[in-house]
């Protein structure tokens, strides 16, 4: 394996470069900027799960004092597009319009009002009269796929839908070898079916956008987004205006987790501003966020494993049916990732089959959510591995050891299955999964605790484990660029399209540049995510930023270093090949040196003048997986069915941690989100398709009292293709809690949990029924 070099700034838990502004409450978020004459925008959400709008009468609303603009399907562009903020051409269908004469879920857009105050806008919404022709709702996967089901997208102008007449958005089917032969030749076969729920990201800052015109009448969108460049492109497409007439600014973002990889509101406020010439602000209430923003795709996933007596897998089959709600945003790609981010982990199986479908329903719209399908896939895969271990009488850790992918190995799945299309062949060039397993097992006390049923009253403890991989960006699709320019005091402007949504990417990207240029972090001035001033980057998704944007930054820094050497070589009268950087100076032979400030002074004012500056791009040719071993100790109350997670250990191979504090923070946050997803979080939906618990009181995300003793252990490797040896770990942690807790519950009370969240009711039912729930 490649050796890790010595680093000066990389590998240090530097404070976040934006930390001081955040901790002192500076006005750095979208809604903190107040502009005079701003209109307040509210959206009328559909009260029906499935209906056609016969007529809409806005005359009373329009006549109200203080109402400036009303948008409906009758006065807005009809362009079909996707709200999924993905690279172009998007792998999601063009099945959405700004507004339409058909609504497909409770909360779907019917109209928007812009008014002088929020109160007036709300009153105007109430004055809009809509005549709905109700259509039969479609409230489950089975309902959508049944013969004669209502066709949810029956419009002729939508494109990119696999089979609209059968409500099928996407269909994936890939084969390696012959799974049937593999199962026939197996000594043990297990098969499990798991179902996951509607769950939401719930960033503490909801979706919020402020739009206004600049002095040249260009449209400025100041938006809480993960994808500023995709916002610019998709808003231009939707509104039918040139890309050059839009500038997107991403200020600080109050959390994303995938939900802000969606162009959800920018088109509406943008059009209000274009129509009225006035600034417009929209900020979703928490209730609106629950009913009309995005969710995770609920799925039903079946996994079948076959293995020999020796424990080596002979065949893996995974079948996934995904509910993609009323629109197909991310439908295909989340489905594909359910297989592509899970199956390569067990490359010892010579036969593999992944197939599945994403289907429309008239329910809230899932989109991107941290983990992106892998979370749903690892639940059945890792609980099936636990069952297989028991069946074969092999320790669960040992069964993983016999089957997981290793250094210098590959999987045919990498090439067969990518982001909604064929993938990219790759071999694993860094993998410390073995050490993750060892360290994690020691820390949880696996050998002492596994299989011991020490009852404490009604509470029974148990331990469980699981392993997983994810990726680092989307190979041959993602692109990031970075620009560096030098100032005459020896500081640098780092201009990046990369999108810091709280992850700390501004900080770690500055650390990479500072490392190459041997300057302290405060000499790196970061400007990110402004489509006028920073180069292109796809944005914050697919665990891409550290690996892809990081490499663009490293390359830009190396280019600018070469320019610095050229200037210094001429000043010092030596060859540039003899120069190196240290302590903000260029150092040559015989103790000759020149400060970076002097280098830039010379280039700017004195000799052979030019701006020391460089731009570099990165399009990754592979997606090196981070690896994770999870261990949990739980206690189950056999009287109430309550699960308490006592101790959770996550040992992760993230390559080199550019900033260990931030890397741990990514893991800790993802794991706690995953624990909520495993135990308490569930959007409850009525028989008429309405979200019944649209508040943070009724939709329970973890608070400080709900977290276990949580230990994240960074087991560093060196990824030779990554910037400074790094891989990405933004998502992987969220996949762990469900299977790990489920396996620990089995160790405790001997029941298999098949449906999330593992509420006391479900656990108790499983205990009473004796086996599964």
């Amino acid at each position: 394996m490649a050796e890790r070099p010595e680093f000066a700034i990389v590998g240090k838990g530097e404070r976040k470069v934006d930390g001081r502004a955040l901790v002192t409450g500076k006005p750095v978020f979208v809604a903190d900027l107040r502009l005079p004459e701003t209109l307040h925008v509210k959206i009328l959400g559909s009260p029906k799960a499935h209906a056609r709008i016969r007529s809409i009468d806005v005359s009373a609303a329009e006549a109200m004092d203080g109402v400036a603009c009303i948008l409906t399907h009758e006065n807005t562009p009809p362009t079909r597009h996707t709200t999924a903020g993905q690279g172009f051409p998007e792998p999601s269908p063009y099945d959405a319009r700004m507004f339409e004469d058909k609504v497909r879920f409770v909360g779907d857009r019917v109209a928007a009002v812009a008014a002088e105050t929020e109160a007036i806008a709300e009153a105007a919404l109430a004055a809009i009269r809509v005549d709905y022709e109700e259509l039969e709702p479609v409230l489950s996967i089975d309902d959508a796929l049944r013969e004669g089901a209502p066709v949810i997208h029956d419009e002729p102008d939508s494109t990119g839908i696999y089979d609209a007449s059968r409500n099928i958005v996407a269909d994936v089917d890939i084969d390696v070898g012959d799974v049937e032969a593999g199962f026939d030749g197996s000594d043990a076969v297990v098969e499990v079916v798991c179902e996951t729920q509607y769950a939401q990201h719930t960033p503490i800052e909801t979706h919020v956008v402020l739009s206004y015109l600049d002095s040249e009448d260009r449209l400025i969108l100041r938006t809480s987004t993960q994808v500023p460049f995709h916002v610019r492109r998709i808003v231009a497409q939707t509104l039918g205006i040139p890309i050059r007439d839009i500038r997107v600014i991403k200020p600080r973002v109050g959390g994303g987790f995938g939900t802000k990889q969606e162009v959800l509101l920018e088109d509406i406020v943008g059009l209000v501003t274009l129509r009225t010439g006035r600034p417009a602000l929209i900020s979703l209430t928490r209730k609106e966020e629950f009913t009309s923003a995005r969710t995770r795709h609920p799925m039903r996933v079946r996994v079948k494993l076959g293995a020999g007596e020796d424990g080596v897998l002979r065949a893996i089959e995974m079948e996934a049916i995904s509910n993609t709600g009323a629109y197909g945003a991310h439908g295909l790609t989340v489905l594909a990732n359910t297989g592509s981010k899970t199956l390569p982990l067990y490359n010892k199986a010579p036969n593999a089959h992944f197939f599945g479908q994403a289907v429309y329903t008239t329910l809230p719209v899932p989109g991107a959510y941290r983990g992106y399908g892998a979370t749903q896939g690892y639940f059945p895969l890792e609980t099936a591995m636990d069952e297989l271990a028991e069946r074969l009488g092999i320790d669960p850790i040992e069964l993983r050891r016999l089957n997981h992918i290793r250094l210098d190995e590959t999987s045919p799945i990498f090439e067969k299955l990518g982001e909604g299309r064929e993938g990219v062949e790759q071999t694993v060039k860094s993998c410390e999964l073995e050490r993750c397993l060892q360290v994690g097992a020691e820390r949880i006390g696996w050998a002492e605790k596994r299989g011991k049923k020490h009852r404490d009253g009604s509470w029974v403890p148990g331990v469980g484990m699981s392993i997983m991989m994810q990726g680092s960006g989307i190979p041959l699709i993602d692109m990031a660029a970075a620009t560096l320019k030098m100032n005459e005091d020896g500081s640098f402007n780092l201009l990046i399209g990369a999108t810091d949504i709280g992850t700390g990417s501004d900080t770690i990207l500055a650390q990479i540049a500072a490392e190459v240029l041997a300057v302290p972090l405060d000499k790196m001035l970061v400007t990110s995510s402004d489509t006028d001033f920073t180069p292109f980057d796809v944005g914050a998704y697919a665990s891409s930023t550290t690996y892809v944007s990081g490499m663009a930054v490293q390359r830009a820094a190396e280019k600018i270093r070469d320019q610095i050497f050229e200037v210094a070589a001429s000043a010092l009268g030596v060859a540039s090949s003899e120069l190196s950087l240290a302590n903000e100076s260029v150092v040559g032979p015989d103790g000759k040196s020149l400060s970076l400030a002097d280098v830039c002074q010379r280039a700017m004012y004195e000799s052979d003048q030019f701006q020391i500056a460089a731009t570099a791009s990165c399009v990754p040719t592979e997606s090196p997986p981070p690896f994770l071993a999870n261990f949990a100790e739980v206690a189950v109350d056999t009287e109430t069915g309550r699960i308490k997670v006592l101790h959770y250990v996550a040992a992760v191979d993230c390559g080199v941690a550019i900033n260990p504090v931030l890397a741990e923070g990514q893991m800790e946050g993802a794991i706690v989100n995953g624990i909520g997803y495993a135990l308490t979080e569930e959007m409850l939906i009525s028989s008429r398709g309405r979200v019944r618990n649209p508040s943070l009181f009724d939709y329970k995300i973890p608070g400080m009292l709900d977290i276990p003793k949580l230990e994240v252990i960074l087991v560093e490797s060196y990824e030779p293709t990554g910037p400074m040896g790094a891989k990405s770990v933004g998502e992987i942690g969220i996949n762990g809690p469900i299977p790990t807790i489920a396996n620990a519950v089995y160790d405790a009370v001997g029941v298999r949990l098949r449906e999330t969240p593992f509420t006391p009711e479900r656990v108790l039912r499983a205990i009473r029924d004796g086996s599964t729930a």
């Binding site: 107040r34 959390g255 741990e664 989100n673 400080m704």
Partner: protein, 158 residues
Amino acid sequence: MTITVTINGTSKRLAIEPGERLFELLRREGYMGVKTGCGTGDCGACAVLLNGRAVNSCIVFAAKADGGEVTTVEGLERDGRLHPVQEAFLDEGGIQCGYCTPGMVIGAVDLLSRNPEPTEDEIRQGLSGNLCRCTGYVKQVRAVQQAAAAMKGGGNDG
């Protein structure tokens, strides 16, 4: 109606609307460090100190602040120096997106003023009303512990 309220040390006479919430008043007056995540008192992002105690300003009437003292996150610095809780959040990595941070910091300042040496359980209990979706809380608990240690050593007492 008009109220008199001291905000971050400055006394102000402010006209308020009937039913106006303290959160709305503070934002309207430019204290943008006061955030909102729910509007129903569930998340703690809007926490401010009212007469020295943390309250969720989204469910407190502005009128209730009449004659009182309000401290927002903008008011914690002393002589250009951050409050030890703020320093600790920066050092320990207790901040990711930073949106819950003002409320979380205010909650911690309140907690430490009542209980200068809290146990880990007391910290978790004391800040259980502040939701954070980014950090998993581990580093925030540690930040409060570090702040408690720093303040015991005679730092800024806020």
